[in-house]
């Protein structure tokens, strides 16, 4: 890794929490990557926006809740956290229902530009 210049890497998390391990796998990948000194961002879209809901009480299904996991993100070197506006709207989720308040809500065309600016996409 020594001489390689820093890259813009976007993690795209599109799956609902709990039903499959993909949402958790994406989060683990983001957190493990934070030590690598790259320009990391994270985008929630489609059912992935459900990960952001407050009041997840996953005690009954024996998993740590995303409501409690996601707030660690700002402590890591994640430059920006994006949430797809149309995905929220379609699910009638409002901004004050989200567990993170430092997110940037962006629409489809902004996502198109965001993708185009990256050096790599990690798709989950």
């Amino acid at each position: 890794m020594n001489q390689t210049p820093s890259k813009k890497i976007l993690f795209i998390s599109r799956h609902a929490p709990y039903g499959t391990s993909l949402a958790k796998d994406a989060l683990d990948a983001v957190l493990s990557s934070s030590a690598y000194d790259q320009q990391l961002s994270l985008l929630f879209m489609d059912d992935g926006v459900f990960q952001l809901l407050k009041n997840q009480a996953s005690g009954e299904i024996a998993h740590k809740s995303f409501s409690s996991l996601l707030p660690v993100l700002p402590l890591y070197e994640i430059n920006s956290i994006y949430v797809h506006y149309e995905s929220l709207k379609k699910r009638q989720i409002t901004i004050n229902e989200l567990v993170l308040d430092s997110v940037q809500i962006i629409d489809s065309s902004a996502i198109c530009s965001l993708l185009a600016q990256q050096d790599q996409l990690l798709s989950f």
Partner: protein
């Protein structure tokens, strides 16, 4: 006798709930579990068809543990009945067969 239909995928990303509603009879029951509980939201793509079928007498259930895990306690639409695994077992006995849509 009738059929219990179980749905474990989000209707926002999978068509299983829509498929189930096509063939669900008046005597049948539907159980939403795992990511299927997103089907209990008022914003669900199948919300209208679900409302119609509930009016005809079909009972639609959602697993409480899965609803709570996803933070949907306050967001479930009226007419959806909450149940637990004991209820799931009971439903599977009250219906003759179980069709799992996955």
């Amino acid at each position: 006798m009738s059929t219990l239909h179980t749905i474990n995928k989000s209707p926002f990303s999978h068509s299983t709930l829509a498929s189930c509603l096509q063939v669900c009879g008046k005597q049948d029951g539907i159980l939403l579990l795992e990511d299927g509980v997103f089907g209990a939201l008022a914003s669900s793509p199948c919300a209208e068809e679900l409302a119609t079928i509930i009016e005809t007498g079909v009972r639609v259930y959602a697993l409480k543990g899965d609803v709570n895990a996803r933070g949907l306690q306050e967001k479930i639409r009226a007419g959806i009945l909450l149940t637990d695994y004991n209820g799931f077992v009971q439903l599977s006995i009250e219906h003759k067969c179980v069709q799992s849509w996955y």
